[in-house]
Each structure stands twice: as structure tokens, then as C-alpha cells.
């Protein structure tokens, strides 16, 4: 009798676990289907190339927001990626030094800083002294979010390169910096690239840090020293507005953003599969 109960308990729990997986995925499908359903009709060539129009007039688009996001991500990557990779290299290759231990702690802490606090920080040290909202400030806050993420994954990937590889390089008489850059890093390149792409996908969707740094722009921005529109901020502004046309455009913007992020993430999967690089995920 007790065995029967145990057997049914086993079957029941299997069902529960299966059910839980479905429940966890319901919101994913919910979000995706709505974004697709509501956003697709509003997508048009105009959406991608037009500027926003005044309240109540039709035909506006997200052109400046999309371009703004591209510019912000590029700028942030130019600073964030090398900085993060170098920190990751230091963590992996100089592991035993005191500084590295402090750096590891710092990187761990930096990943837990809420993104809105990053925005506050950049407002204080970039926006206020410059007396201007700017793409530079926005990119700075995104870079600050990227750095610890890239540092961590770089360190992880470098740790996976076998010691023998390094030692072989050193045994051949190569200086340490060449061994690190051209041998060790080379061996981890797809993993590091994966980390970089993941960081890019992450900052592409960040809104809070841009609120007080890049601010917003109803037009094209012509220099890096003026406010710039961005996709997530525009989605936010339109979503909380009362105007139907703006809601539709918000959904369309969300579709574009999701599409980009998914593309990067799935592209990464492909990278992992085809190169077979490290992480058990």
C-alpha cells in the first residue's frame, strides 16, 4: 500500500515539475505573442525612418530612436568592451595578486549596482559638469553596466584555456603579454565574443540609466553632445501616454527591440554550438 502511494507520488511530482515548466514559459509566450500581435501592424518603412510627429498627428516613426540606440550601443562598446576584457584578463592571468582579489570583489559588486543608480552617478559626474544631456553621458552609463559583465565572462573563458597552452607559449620564449593576447585570448575568443554579445544584448534594453543621461530628442541628434532619443526610452514614454497611436508605436518599438535582442542571443547559441566553446549551460 505504501509503495502504491510512493509510486503515485512519483508520477504526480513528475507532472508537477512538467507543469511548472509550462507555467514558467507562459509569460514568455504571452509577452511575445502580444508584442508580435500589436507591434507587427505598426511596422512600416515610415516607422523605421521617420521622426516622431506632434501629438495627434499620424505618420510619426522611431527613426531617431533606433539610430540613437545604435549609436549609444556602439559608443558604449568602444569603451566598455576593451575595459571589461582587460579587467577579465587581469583577473584570469594575474589571479594571485592582491589587486586581482580586490578587483574580483569590485566586479562582483559592480554587477549588483542597480542600473538607475548608474544613471544617477553619470548624471552627477558627466551631465551636470557638462551642463548638457548627451549621447556621451548615455553611452558612459551603458559602458559602466557593460564593464563588469564583460570582465566576468572574459575571466571565465580565459580560465578554461588549459595551463599547458600558456606554458607552451612561454616555453617558446614569447613574452608574457604576447602569450596572453595572442595565445590564451585567441583560444578563448569565441567565448569572450559570446560574453561581449550578451553584454550588448543586455544594455540594448536598458532604460533607467538613460533617463537622466541621454534624456530624449524629438529629432535627429547631430552631435554627441546633445540629448539623443533611444529605443527603450521612447517605448517607455509612449507606453505611459494616453494616445492610441503612441501605444501602437510602443508595441512596434518593443518588437524591434525584442527582435534585436533575440537575434543576438540566438546568434550566440549558434556560436556556442558551432565552436563548441566551454560553458555547460
Amino acid at each position: 500500500m505504501r509503495d502504491l502511494i510512493r509510486k503515485y507520488m512519483d508520477i504526480w511530482m513528475h507532472g508537477v515539475l512538467l507543469g511548472a515548466s509550462f507555467v514558467a514559459l507562459v509569460p514568455l509566450f504571452g509577452v511575445f505573442s502580444y508584442v508580435l500581435k500589436k507591434g507587427w501592424p505598426a511596422l512600416s518603412k515610415g516607422f523605421f525612418v521617420n521622426l516622431p510627429t506632434p501629438v495627434g498627428e499620424v505618420g510619426g516613426g522611431f527613426g531617431n530612436a533606433i539610430l540613437g540606440s545604435v549609436v549609444l550601443i556602439l559608443l558604449a562598446s568602444i569603451v566598455g568592451v576593451p575595459w571589461g576584457v582587460l579587467c577579465g584578463i587581469y583577473l584570469a592571468e594575474y589571479r594571485r595578486s592582491k589587486l586581482a582579489q580586490w578587483l574580483r570583489f569590485t566586479v562582483d559588486v559592480l554587477t549588483s549596482v542597480p542600473s538607475i543608480i548608474v544613471g544617477l552617478f553619470i548624471y552627477a559626474i558627466v551631465v551636470k559638469p557638462m551642463a548638457n544631456f548627451s549621447a556621451l553621458a548615455g553611452a558612459a552609463s551603458l559602458a559602466l553596466i557593460m564593464i563588469p559583465v564583460v570582465a566576468r565572462t572574459t575571466e571565465e573563458m580565459l580560465k578554461l584555456v588549459p595551463r599547458a597552452t600558456r606554458e607552451a607559449g612561454l616555453a617558446l620564449g614569447l613574452p608574457r603579454w604576447k602569450v596572453i593576447l595572442f595565445i590564451t585570448l585567441r583560444g578563448a575568443v569565441s567565448g569572450v565574443a559570446t560574453g561581449v554579445l550578451l553584454a550588448i544584448a543586455r544594455v540594448a534594453g536598458e532604460t533607467a540609466p538613460l533617463l537622466f543621461t541621454a534624456f530624449n530628442n524629438r529629432y535627429w541628434s547631430h552631435t554627441l553632445f546633445e540629448p539623443v532619443a533611444s529605443l527603450p526610452v521612447q517605448i517607455y514614454v509612449y507606453a505611459i501616454s494616453p494616445f492610441e497611436e503612441w501605444h501602437q508605436q510602443a508595441w512596434a518599438g518593443a518588437l524591434v527591440l525584442l527582435f534585436f535582442i533575440l537575434f543576438v542571443n540566438l546568434f550566440i547559441r549558434f556560436l556556442i554550438f558551432s565552436r563548441g566553446a566551454g560553458r555547460t549551460s
Binding site: F215, W220, E226, I240, F243
Partner: protein, 337 residues
């Protein structure tokens, strides 16, 4: 690589071949529909100037103006003496238009009810003392109306707002305990309800949630087909918001407008006056510099002139002529370094 360069160049070319001057402004959501129309029209008139106005609330307008992160601010709440001190007095308030703070509502299913409200009712709703739509006090003022048995959810501004300043100014004048219980200003401690961000956010809340009541600028209610209440003014008349009613309110207060233009036109006298009317301002520095300064002055002059014709269509009242003359005189005194 070449493709990337080509894309970059064409994009830059598209945007950059006649690099316009951008004037960055931020602030009040109250006049935003009008400003967005104005600045779009102005672009046609002066294609070398882009006016990038961001509707973030009067509080934000004052703050960013004080921080000098924008070229001009916008606020329906004139800066207080302390705030002016913070910028060492280097600010000019330029009135641009008049508008009405309307009380809009969402009764749920019975959406065709035209409500009449008194300042007492409004205050008590926002104090949480009147909790249901079919409260006898509301019913008494609206004898024929079918009021639902639903909770009232007052909606207020969660951000620093000139609209809030006008609204609370009105309630401070008309309800004895308002000042002590809640206060007057761009951000106050509300006793009940939920917050919306900007006039846009409050309007969205009213549209989406049954039982809500909120204070928003007139055109937001109109553009979103929301009902507005007729409010009892000091002359004892229930007045619905309209351009004429706003103008009437301003007329009553014209003589009181001081040299710096900071004035309140709420609770104005006159039978036809709408009681919750307000002036909105652009905040301009007295120390204008360079090309941007010159273009800003051009913009201001245009606002005092041709821009006024667009106001009425969007349910804002154009500035009275005598006020325009005074403002133009003030603008003349602004010098560009």
C-alpha cells in the same frame, strides 16, 4: 567594412548636411500638445532651428533650467522666490498661453454622465473623505445623474507638476483645510489615490481604470474623448471649460499681473470664468549667449506673434493683447552676449 562605411556616410549625410541649431527645452506637460504643434510649425518657418522639447513636468523644467542642462525651461508653476534665488535671479518668466485644468473622470459603464462639481466635493474626494461615486453629497449636486456604486480612485501627478501647482492653488483658495492637510506646490503629499506620470500618465490612468477621477489639462481630455466636469465658480455658476471661459478668467486678473508675470488666475471672478485656469511659462535665462541665444529670442518673438493663432484650436486660450505687449517689451530687454 566598406558596407558599414557606406551606411555611416549616407546616414551622416542625411542628417548632417544642414546641421541645424538645436534648442533643448524641457518641462511642463500642461502645454505639451500645443508646444509640439508650435515647434513643428516653427521648424517650417525657420528650418535651421530644431526645438527639442521634452515633456517631463514643470518640476523637471525648473530643475533642469536651474542646472542649466537645457536652453530653456517650461513650467506652469512660476518659480518660487527660493528657486529664483538659486539661479541668482537670472530668470525671466515668459507667459506663452493660458489653459484649463479640467476634472475628468471614468465612471465605468455609465460614461455619458455630465458631472457638476463644487470645490468642496473635489477637495473631499482627493482627501479620501468621499469614497464612492454614488455618495449623497455628489448626488445632491447632480440630481438627475445615474451614479454607479463604485469606489472613487483619485489620480494625481507622481512627478513634479505645474498642473498640480495650479490645482492645489485653487483648492487652497476654496477649501479651508486644504492648505494644512495637503498643501500647495508642484509636489504634495496626497491623501488618497494613485499617481500618473505627466499629464499623459494621468490621462492614461483615467482612460484605463474604472472609477478614476483626475485633474488634467483640457486638450488631453478632449483628444482622448474623456468627459469633463462643470465646476462651480465664485460667482456661483457651474462652468464647463472652454476657451472663452479661460479668457474670461484671465480678464478678471489682468490688472493683477506683476512685472515678472508670475500670477495665479485660479478662482477668478466673473460669471463665465472657469475657476481652475492657469498661465504657463517658458523659463529663460537673462544671460543669453551666442547663436543659440539669438535663435531663442527669435522663437520667443514668434511665440508672441504668429504662434498664438494655433492656441484656440487646441483648446488653449491665446494671451490677451495687453499682456502680449508687456511680454514683448520684456523680451526687448533681453540681450544676447
Amino acid at each position: 567594412m566598406k558596407l558599414l562605411a557606406a551606411i555611416l556616410i549616407t546616414t551622416m549625410a542625411q542628417i548632417g548636411f544642414a546641421s541645424p541649431i538645436t534648442l533643448n527645452g524641457a518641462g511642463a506637460t500642461f502645454p505639451y500638445p500645443l508646444y509640439s504643434k508650435w515647434f513643428s510649425e516653427y521648424r517650417k518657418k525657420a528650418p535651421d532651428v530644431q526645438v527639442n522639447y521634452n515633456s517631463i513636468g514643470s518640476g523637471g523644467g525648473i530643475r533642469q533650467f536651474a542646472d542649466q542642462t537645457v536652453d530653456f525651461g517650461a513650467s506652469d508653476a512660476p518659480m518660487t522666490d527660493e528657486q529664483i534665488e538659486k539661479v541668482s535671479g537670472k530668470v525671466v518668466h515668459i507667459p506663452t498661453t493660458l489653459g484649463a485644468v479640467v476634472i475628468s473622470y471614468n465612471l465605468g459603464d455609465e460614461s455619458s454622465v455630465d458631472l457638476k462639481l463644487t470645490p468642496n466635493l473635489i477637495a473631499e474626494i482627493y482627501l479620501g473623505k468621499i469614497k464612492k461615486w454614488n455618495d449623497p453629497l455628489i448626488q445632491k449636486i447632480n440630481p438627475g445623474a445615474k451614479l454607479p456604486d463604485r469606489s472613487i480612485v483619485p489620480v494625481y501627478r507622481s512627478d513634479g507638476s505645474g498642473t498640480t501647482a495650479i490645482f492645489t492653488d485653487y483648492l487652497s483658495k476654496t477649501y479651508p483645510d486644504w492648505k494644512s492637510e495637503v498643501g500647495q506646490g508642484t509636489a504634495v503629499k496626497w491623501k488618497a489615490g494613485i499617481g500618473g506620470r505627466g499629464n499623459e500618465g494621468v490621462t492614461a490612468q483615467i482612460k484605463q481604470t474604472k472609477g478614476t477621477i483626475g485633474y488634467i489639462e483640457f486638450v488631453y481630455a478632449e483628444q482622448n474623448h474623456l468627459p469633463v466636469a462643470a465646476i462651480k465658480n465664485t460667482a456661483g455658476q457651474f462652468v464647463s471649460p472652454s476657451v472663452a471661459a479661460i479668457t474670461s478668467a484671465a480678464q478678471g486678473k489682468l490688472k493683477e499681473i506683476p512685472a515678472d508675470f508670475r500670477v495665479s488666475i485660479t478662482d477668478a471672478g466673473g460669471k463665465k470664468s472657469y475657476p481652475i485656469a492657469g498661465v504657463t511659462y517658458l523659463l529663460v535665462s537673462t544671460e543669453l549667449q551666442g547663436e543659440k541665444g539669438k535663435k531663442l529670442l527669435d522663437l520667443l518673438r514668434w511665440i508672441m506673434g504668429p504662434a498664438q493663432q494655433y492656441s484656440a484650436k487646441l483648446s488653449y486660450a491665446p494671451l490677451p493683447k495687453s499682456l502680449i505687449h508687456r511680454v514683448e517689451a520684456k523680451i526687448k530687454t533681453l540681450k544676447v552676449k
